[in-house]
């Protein structure tokens, strides 16, 4: 109920916004003398599927960390649905509609899958401050958590502790948690990393089914898997945007081939 209400408001807000869902302008970040993000400009339209590729150390994850507020940029701005969020703390950005997954799985190993997803839902609910009710009795919240698990095909493992699940299942829990928050912009950091071929297919299937009112930005080191998913591709190299364009343009671009194949 609560989720629908929020979704409705967000839907109207989306109508009012003209321009990109997520825009980054002149974003710069360096660690000591190392420039990891160099005046990056990026504009991702509503509902777009964007792939960000680049070799190791290209600054892909740093870019995500700047967008989610885990890092503060040295220069530049981040705009979400037309609102400048550069100075907004990371925790507030989750409430404004940014969700992410992590390249290195960052879940709650002692808890069940259901509790993991419940924590994700709780993060956007005022209930998270409530010390006076039993979490187990929050039927509506838990039903939504089960729904989110069902969305990634893990409903049958809801009561299992995360520590007893496979790596591929954990990746799907990551995605379930991100989706449970009803994000407007979803950032997926290498969702295929370390997965078997079948698991990759499962995750890809899952990602392609994400509804169009969610804008998806995906980092992927391995271009082959994610290519079908992407509409536009941005190639990062040493913190710079080297190439940006449609799938066909980027694949055909000589710079992409140079960076990826060392030609």
């Amino acid at each position: 109920m609560d989720a629908q209400g929020r979704g409705g408001r967000a839907g109207r807000a989306a109508g009012a916004v003209s321009g990109p869902a997520l825009a980054v302008r002149g974003l710069t970040k360096s660690f000591g003398g190392l420039l990891v993000t160099a005046r990056v400009d990026l504009a991702v339209e509503e509902g777009e599927r964007r792939l960000i590729i680049g070799p190791n150390g290209a600054g892909k994850t740093t870019l995500f960390n700047l967008v989610t507020g885990e890092l503060r940029p040295d220069e530049g701005t981040v705009t979400l649905l037309g609102r400048d969020i550069t100075r907004v703390p990371g925790r507030r950005r989750a409430h404004l509609g940014i969700s992410r997954t992590y390249q290195i799985i960052t879940l709650f190993p002692r808890d069940t899958l259901l509790r993991n997803v419940t924590l994700s839902l709780l993060g956007r609910s005022p209930l998270r401050w409530n010390p006076l009710v039993r979490l187990e009795r929050q039927g509506a919240l838990i039903a939504r958590a089960r729904e989110a698990l069902a969305r990634v095909g893990l409903e049958h493992l809801a009561e299992r502790p995360l520590a007893q699940t496979s790596y591929g299942e954990r990746r799907r829990v990551e995605i379930a948690m991100a989706l449970a928050q009803n994000p407007r912009v979803l950032l997926l950091d290498e969702p295929f990393a370390g997965l078997s071929i079948e698991e990759r297919r499962d995750v890809l299937h899952l990602v392609t089914r994400i509804p169009r009112n969610v804008t998806v930005v995906m980092i992927e080191h391995d271009m082959d898997v994610a290519l079908d998913f992407a509409e536009r591709i941005t190639v990062l190299h040493f913190g710079h945007v080297v190439v940006e364009g449609t799938r066909g343009e980027v694949v055909a671009h000589p710079r992409t081939r140079e960076i990826y194949l060392g030609e």
């Binding site: 925790r91 401050w129 928050q181």
Partner: protein, 325 residues
């Protein structure tokens, strides 16, 4: 089953003065309960929020000293108790603001420093704290007209408070806020990305921890009718932390068992062995080696293993009966 065990536990605790012979042991039971409240307070922070503290004796002492000062100044018990709790809460908030600048070892070091400041004041600021001679109070309160002068009555009063603290802690643990606190312990970075205010959650956990510590500190004052810098010493903070770790941090029952262990060792074993500290140390080493998770979770683990071993195979194979691989 668990309700029955709970009821049985309460009945046993409530009847302690009836079947325990001698006021000595009734007093020890009171001490166990008051230190259990202290340990439950430390556990909120250390066990559930994942922030080990070595400065809580400072808060414990602030509660005891504030109540003692108010009583010697002629205020009523109600004023003294409420004043002490308010003071502990304020001090706890201050401690939290300073200590939460760090986590892990940084947090521990700041709590040590804060605890030592309180100890320094207790020991050296003679005009306020009377230094090493401490402060004595002559009377115990008489809630609802009931005198708490005798050991059994004081025990029962402590028991009521203890049960209240356990009940509220249990409610906190099972609540959404409790889940938030444990989340910040396990994955602070993730919690922030999920929209949680990690600092504020830790701050509030610190305040709850401070309140329990304040309750224990006031009980300590009334139990001994005396407070001296010894109550505020670093060793007192360490003891509280050891109670939590030995019993099982992040469990409801663990700190209670840990408190019982330390208090019994201190009071009973010291009657037989002069070097009781040595014995306590040896027990802690044994716990860390054989049950690193603490006595309560460790015993639960052994119990599960034993019941699985003694159950016929067919029953073991039933869903849920199989142990984790």
């Amino acid at each position: 089953m668990s309700r029955l065990a709970l009821a049985l536990g309460v009945v046993i605790l409530a009847t302690v003065p009836l079947w325990v012979s001698g006021t000595f042991y009734v007093n020890i039971a009171s001490q166990i309960l008051l230190y259990a409240i202290f340990a439950l307070g430390v556990n909120v922070l250390t066990g559930y929020a994942g922030l080990a503290t070595l400065g809580h004796a400072g808060l414990f002492g602030i509660a005891a000293y504030t109540a003692a000062k108010l009583l010697t100044a002629g205020y009523a018990h109600t004023v003294a108790v409420l004043g002490a709790l308010a003071m502990t809460l304020i001090a706890g908030a201050l401690f939290a603001i300073l200590a939460l600048r760090g986590t892990g070892l940084g947090f521990v070091m700041i709590t040590v420093a804060l605890g030592q400041i309180v100890w320094g004041v207790a020991y050296r600021w003679l005009s306020i704290t009377n230094g090493d001679n401490g402060i004595s109070v002559t009377t115990r309160p008489t809630p609802f007209g009931l005198s708490l002068a005798t050991p059994p009555r004081f025990y029962w009063a402590t028991l009521v408070l203890f049960l209240a603290v356990v009940a509220v802690t249990a409610m906190f643990v099972a609540s959404p806020f409790g889940a938030s606190v444990r989340g910040t312990r396990d994955q602070p970075r993730r919690m922030n990305a999920l929209g949680y205010h990690v600092w504020m959650i830790r701050f509030l956990a610190f305040l709850l921890s401070a309140i329990w510590t304040g309750v224990a500190g006031v009980l300590y004052l009334y139990y001994n009718q005396f407070v001296s810098p010894q109550a505020v010493a670093l060793t007192a903070s360490a003891e509280a932390l050891l109670m939590v770790i030995a019993g099982g941090s992040g469990t409801l029952l663990g700190p209670v068992v840990g408190a019982a262990l330390v208090v019994v060792m201190k009071n009973v074993a010291s009657g037989y062995i002069e070097r009781w500290n040595f014995l306590l140390g040896a027990i802690f080493v044994a716990i860390v080696v054989f049950m690193p998770e603490g006595l309560v979770p460790g015993a639960a683990r052994l119990w599960r293993r034993a019941t699985v071993a003694w159950t016929p195979r067919a029953a073991v194979a039933a869903p849920g009966g199989r142990p984790a691989p």
